[in-house]
């Protein structure tokens, strides 16, 4: 733990979708560095419940759906009411959608747009209010290599991630004068439920094409996010950091 002293002085990170996978790794990473963390998901995982029991007042969780505008605003309001500040926001909540665009149902497309893009925009709007008032903060959007390179079968998912990168660049210019930084982390393939749905052959093919020869761990992605969210990345804004073991190089 790097931050000590009065609990009210501890920085606050908001992590969307923190109950499992990369979200849970992000929660752990910020907690390990002495931050307070607020997260939400549709339901708490057993692993998150363990953290909630162990961390006491440094970790809060609220039930919310990443596609619900009212739920996201209520969550952000609850965080600022309780801790009076938000130092970093990580827009991590997301969902995948594989298949041919020509055959996708409209309600499936809407669901991905709502969670991956609209939810991230609305949560960012709610959280940067606190940052503007304080004149400090950082936002990290979890993008994807699919937002940087084209891949068949993930058109809608790719569209949402590329859109997040667009928001990153524009918001970096908009909020830079208020000392608020905005960046994206574009992970390659890492051990997660989404990758778990790939066939063994598909996973082996990704590993073969990755110069580092393996998938990332969620903790490795979380470290890159922490670097950009914290003062370690104090002169970096408007950038997309690809963390993919060299897959797209």
């Amino acid at each position: 733990m790097s931050a000590v002293g009065n609990a009210n002085d501890l920085p606050v990170a908001v992590v969307s979708g923190g109950s499992r996978g990369l979200g849970l790794a992000l929660v752990d990473t910020f907690l390990d560095r002495g931050w307070r963390v607020a997260t939400f998901s549709r339901a708490p995982s057993g692993a998150l419940e363990d953290r909630l029991a162990a961390q006491g007042d440094r970790l809060i969780w609220q039930q919310a759906d990443g596609g619900s505008a009212d739920g996201l605003r209520d969550f952000a309001r609850a965080v600022t009411k309780r801790w009076s500040r938000i130092d970093a926001l990580v827009n991590n909540a997301g969902t995948g959608l594989d298949g041919l665009l020509a055959l996708m149902r409209t309600d499936e497309i809407d669901r991905v747009l709502d969670i991956n893009l609209r939810g991230a925009i609305l949560l960012t709007q709610a959280c940067v209010k606190s940052m503007i008032k304080r004149g400090a903060g950082s936002v990290v959007n979890i993008s994807s290599v699919n937002g940087v390179r084209g891949h068949s079968g993930v058109a809608v998912y790719s569209a949402t991630k590329a859109a997040l990168d667009g928001m990153t660049r524009s918001l970096a210019r908009e909020l830079g004068p208020r000392n608020i930084r905005v960046n994206s982390v574009a992970p390659g393939y890492f051990a997660s439920e989404m990758v778990g749905e790939l066939s063994d052959e598909a996973t082996r093919r990704i590993q073969r094409r990755t110069p580092l020869g393996r998938l990332a761990t969620p903790a490795e992605i979380a470290e890159a996010v922490y670097f950009l969210a914290s003062e370690k990345g104090s002169f970096i804004t408007g950038q997309v950091l690809v963390v993919d073991g060299g897959l797209t190089c």
Partner: protein
């Protein structure tokens, strides 16, 4: 009526105090915050300064008029005071100078009700 006048006084004081605080933070010269003073041309505030003022007032007055009223309709200190007066129901939305804001808020309420249906 006396209570309403008192409340509008409070709103006007809060708006002016917040504008003054943000101007001081930006290093702008203090000037009299007359109702007709233009936020941009006269006071030198930028759009992000206005955002900071609105966010601070949202905490203090517990309302955000700009979910209904376009922020682009706000030009002067008086416009800002009126917007909060209308939003808080302290000014008749049909009163001179507030009609446009009243109409915008009524239309926004209708849009929200339509989305809920």
């Amino acid at each position: 009526m006396l209570e309403a006048i008192g409340s509008m006084d409070r709103v006007a004081s809060a708006v002016r105090a917040t504008i003054a605080a943000v101007m001081a933070e930006r290093g702008l010269d203090p000037v009299e915050l007359a109702a007709e003073a233009k936020l941009s041309d006269t006071l030198g505030l930028k759009s992000m300064d206005l955002a900071q003022i609105v966010l601070t007032l949202e905490d203090e007055l517990e309302t955000d008029p700009f979910q209904a009223i376009p922020i682009t309709s706000i030009r002067t200190v008086g416009d800002l005071v009126t917007a909060y007066g209308v939003s808080l129901g302290l000014i008749d939305a049909a009163a001179p100078g507030a009609q446009d804001m009243g109409a915008e808020m009524a239309a926004a309420r209708q849009r929200r009700a339509g989305r809920r249906r």
